[in-house]
Amino acid sequence: MSTLEDRLERAQRVSVGEAAAQGAARFVKAAEEEKLVDVAFARVDSPFGELLIASTRKGVVQLSLHGYDQNETLEDLAHKVSPRIFEAPGRLDEVRRELDEYFAGKRKSFDLPLDWQLSHGFALRVLKATARIPYGRVSSYREMAEKAGNVRATRAAGNALGGNAIPIIVPCHRVLRTGGGLGGYGGGLPMKEALLKMEGAIL
């Protein structure tokens, strides 16, 4: 005969994992209905590995390339945008669809609202100029600096592009070093080269 305490403690050894997971999924739906989801994120497959995409009500706020620490990215979003951040892939269906089409070579421009709140000042102007470089074309750090209003700030333009929160959709891969060198890329130079080849910008 086990003691009363032993019998009560048995409850601890019973798994509630599945019931709690279902409760959590229902809760996320309720949170969306109550408009309490400030940032929705999803992990999506791509030819360049898993990407993490995040949207606010305004639009896409971040795309994190494969190789970046996803937890760090989410912590950063929680701090800079809002801690009410949820994995809610349904809210990113359109983003995923356009990215799939782009990687399949079937889409030449993105038709997605963007939330620029992670960029400011000169960097924001550089990135907005970058967003206008057409598919299949390339530009230079110097030209982006000029478009952002300071032709001599080539290095700052490079830094702005390095800090691009929404790569691929804001096509910083289309910006090369003055003179034609590939420059840098957060996803690695082979990825930059592959994107430019796919777009027909380089051979």
Binding site: A20, A21, G23, F27, A30, L74, P83, E87
Partner: protein, 153 residues
Amino acid sequence: MRPPPFQAFLDGHREEVYRFLTGFVGPHDVDDAFQETFLSALRAYPSLRNETNLKSWVLTIAYRKAMDSHRGRGRRAVPVEDLPEQPSRGSHAEDHALWDLVQALPGKQRAAVVQRYAVGLPYKEIGAILDCTEEAARQNVREALKKLKEMMS
């Protein structure tokens, strides 16, 4: 402290909250209480400051929410045979009956027993959640065990 992404907080504590509420409000009401707890936590979340123990924080919300809704609804007698199969209650019929008796305990004692045995918290943490001392938490559990034994005899 900067609050972590809510998704990480939810993933990290959903099982403890579910365990607590299953024992505290019973299998019929656990889902509603779970939703209310996390919605309430989510509303307060962006203004969280200096909260070092998020587990205690969310279990405190669960306790208060469950007490409120319990009061509002009034107690309902639920025949044992009508209860759905609840995994968290163990597979033994005698354990089901025991947890039904737990439901009849007064709120604070019930919360203390559930936190001690079903969640497995130390008395210090139980005291923090119930807003009493560690010794008072221990005393609540002792009282509850005594009452349970009386009910069983």
